[in-house]
Amino acid sequence: MGDQILNQLVWPIVHILAIVLPLVLAVAMFVYWERKIIGWMHVRMGPNKIGPLGLLQAFADVVKLLIKEVILPTNANRFLYYLAPLLALVPALAAWSVIPFGTKMVLANVNAGLLYLLAMTSLGVYGIILAGWASNSRYALLGAMRSAAQVISYELAMGLCLVCVLVLAGSLNLTDIVMAQSGSKGIGEWFMWPLLPVFVIYFISGVAETNRAPFDVAEGESEIVAGFHVEYSGSAFALFFLAEYANMILVSFLASILFMGGWLSPFPESWGWIGHGSFFWLFAKAFAFAFLFLWFRASFPRYRYDQIMRLGWKVFIPITIVWVLVAGCLKYYGWVTIGTGV
């Protein structure tokens, strides 16, 4: 009896916490890193006052947000207004349950893992739309509308990118997809080479999907103040913030897992210890992608809305459709061989 409770209840919760708590911590450090990077790119110092090198800045911000009042706008829809941040956060966290960190290091080794991820990332948009509508504010509603149209458009391109990956890997299971990229040639076996255009499109769609610069018209602070979360304050705003950054880190991990061999080493296995897979490789790859998010934000001006739509519908979707056919040919004629795993 005690063993069963331990196995069925306590261990899963411990495992979940072992993913969620480091994730929340990673979000805090990511925010600090973002401000530092953008500071350096602007030839500023970035946060440097609180704690050594300003490392505690993010925690000070969290405490500040938590002790602030959550203001409910007049005539706002009370229930949906408070529900929206949760609807944004829950899918962002739930998606992490199928992310494999190593050969056996995965919370739920689901067969339809890729589909599950697609479902979870598409649910996040409800938080944004409802926040915009329930706030009873024009700016918030405009932001929500922009976000809804943008997320749906880029989801199509993203879905087609995933189709290319699963055509090559022959599986929806994320662990199988990573193992399909293993082999004697190390970096040469990764899906990023046969699927290079799709890889680029996937990451750009990921940036658009998370409403980050240069696709951040949903927030567009120079046009609609802060978009969908303009009315939110205190801890409700903190939840949106957490969801957005958790999604950014998720997209970074997914790009590494789907196209860059996940935890596999870039060096051939015959090279000894450096060729062995480890979750350090996964973290290093994800860190590089997460850095790209910040680099984009510091470098590119915001896209105009019609340009975003044009890029999604008229450029990305045709290219990915063609590449689905190319991936099919690559697989059918055996030009790309996949590793079977350990």
């Binding site: 009896m1 069963q4 409770i5 069925q8 949906l80 067969n111 339809a112 589909l115 599950y116 697609l118 479902a119 598409s122 649910l123 948009v125 409800y126 739309i129 409802l130 509508w133 509603l141 929500a144 509308m145 809804a148 149209a149 997320v151 749906i152 989801e155 879905g159 929806l172 340009q307 044009r310």
Partner: protein, 218 residues
């Protein structure tokens, strides 16, 4: 601890209750945005029921396609509508008899169908996916792309025709609309917009005043 089958049954009834309750809410709630959200919940809990029945592909496809995309667009449209709530409820009594008749006819038809089905009821065979030793998604893929390839392709063709028809019906070219051609914008060179002029540097500036300026300074 707890019987897995009993637990599954409890889950089924819980999800089914949520599905029916939210479906009722769709047609009874007065606020149309709330009604759309209730519809989202209906889809979501139907997907949960399908997951219980080990039809994971259908369940997740329902969430990806309907909850993730179709309902978002639906919500989008409903939020933009300016609905007069009073006007909506005006004809309730007038249309009630017609509605009741339609509902009764539909109920009768359903009951007849259920009765016919029950007469030659067959016990469902074992799950073909588990028999073939495949996951639900893999089995469905095999079935669709081998035995049912033609119906599948025809369905895809019909959907494509539908999309083209919808675009053709709603696309209107209005006169006087200004728009930019992206390829022209991209093809612009700096020399089209800016003229760089070469000038000699004014080396005398600030040193000895030029003869013309010295006249004025007096």
């Amino acid at each position: 601890m707890i019987n897995p089958q009993l637990f599954q049954l409890i889950c089924f009834y819980a999800f089914a209750t949520v599905t029916v309750a939210s479906a009722l809410a769709v047609i009874t709630l007065r606020n149309s945005v709330h009604a759309v959200l209730a519809l989202v919940l209906t889809f979501f809990s139907s997907a949960c029921i399908w997951l219980l029945a080990e039809a994971e592909f259908l369940a997740i496809a329902l969430i990806v396609v309907y909850v993730g995309a179709v309902m978002v667009l639906f919500l989008f449209v409903v939020m933009m509508l300016d609905i007069d709530q009073e006007k909506m409820r005006e004809g309730f009594v007038k249309f009630l008899p017609v509605g009741l008749i339609v509902a009764l006819v539909m109920l009768g038809e359903m009951l007849v169908l259920i009765g016919v089905r029950a007469m030659h009821a067959r016990v469902l065979g074992p799950n073909p996916a588990t028999e073939a030793g495949l996951s639900n998604t893999a089995w469905l893929g095999h079935a669709l792309y081998t035995d049912y390839l033609l119906p599948f392709e025809i369905a895809a063709l019909i959907l494509t025709v539908g999309v083209v028809a919808a675009v053709a019906l709603t696309l209107r070219h209005r006169g006087g609309v200004r728009y930019q051609t992206a390829s022209q914008q991209v093809a612009v060179k700096a020399s089209d917009r800016v003229r760089i002029v070469k000038m000699d540097a004014d080396t005398n500036y600030g040193r000895t005043p030029a003869p013309a300026a010295s006249e004025e300074s007096k």
